[in-house]
Symmetry: C2
DNA sequence: CCTACCGATCGGTAGG
DNA sequence: CCTACCGATCGGTAGG
């Protein structure tokens, strides 16, 4: 709280005139992260074309959220476990909804025959999100790989792995 | 340190008769994690057969290390950033060596024609380890999926994504 | 929004 | 290996 205050040019204790607790801030930030991801998923689900195009849109959207909102995303991905049990449940259910948007795309692709008919859709969703969420850990915006290259390459890996 | 002491039936302060600092313990645990992973990679590299078999052995070995040594692994994967700069460099170089063992398998597969000739081997290694390391976050030993199923499914996803 | 605190916790030490 | 601490830090509060 003292760090946050100093970024605003005031003392840590002064923040308590504006917020009730540190937990409240954590809830707020994680809620914003969830909202960003879900908006991206809803957009991907509305993409024209087949399951492969929707999966590509999902990947691109997820990467854009990670790269354009890295602070909220890091908090959303790594700090949700510090929420109170009740708030953690809410966060888990928001993540579940997001994952189920991805699973809808994968199921669609299985039914339309572009993905492996024996694909375990639940595991496929976990695999895709494992690859995507790890980007926050290793990708550097000032590194050798452009955002377009990143999206194209990861879309390729993820799509091929579902076939 | 007080928690560690209490697991040993003594006080936190008493641990300092046996270790110099908390950092020393962290270095020790992370070193053990690195050793376990590298032994597994060396074993995979020595596997008979082609790149696909060696990749399957690498995956199986990585999963075994994660599932059989989850405490060291969690520390190795998530706490290395708290090392002093010097020790962190050492840890990073141990991870680099491990990743380069994986890249050797991928390059081998590209040259022998079982993987995509245009595969970006560095990115391929990152993708595979993203999927594998995430297992620690979601897989439950008492869940519906056996360890064999897990290894088979993830080997499939990873292998297909390299083609 | 600051002053002046509080109780809890943490890594660690001196001395036995 | 314990007793008895130390200084630093943390989330938070009372009162202005």
């Amino acid at each position: 709280m003292r760090d946050l205050g100093s970024e605003l040019g005031l003392l840590g204790s002064s923040l308590y005139s504006h917020v009730e607790s540190k937990q409240e801030l954590l809830i707020e930030v994680i809620g914003r992260g969830a909202l960003l991801f879900q908006a991206s998923a809803d957009n991907a689900l509305a993409t024209d074309g087949g399951a492969e195009q929707r999966l590509a849109a999902f990947v691109k959207g997820h990467l854009d959220v990670i790269l354009d909102h890295s602070d909220e995303v890091r908090t959303f991905l790594n700090e949700a476990r510090f929420l109170d049990p009740e708030d953690r449940k809410r966060a888990v259910s928001l993540r579940d909804r997001y994952e189920s948007s991805l699973r809808a795309i994968l199921s669609d692709g299985v039914e339309s025959g572009v993905f492996n008919p024996d694909l375990d859709v639940r595991l496929g969703g976990i695999v895709a999100l494992s690859v995507l969420n790890a980007v926050e850990r290793w990708y550097r915006v000032d590194g050798p790989m452009s955002r377009q290259d990143l999206a194209r390459e990861l879309t390729g890996h993820i799509t091929r792995s579902m076939k």
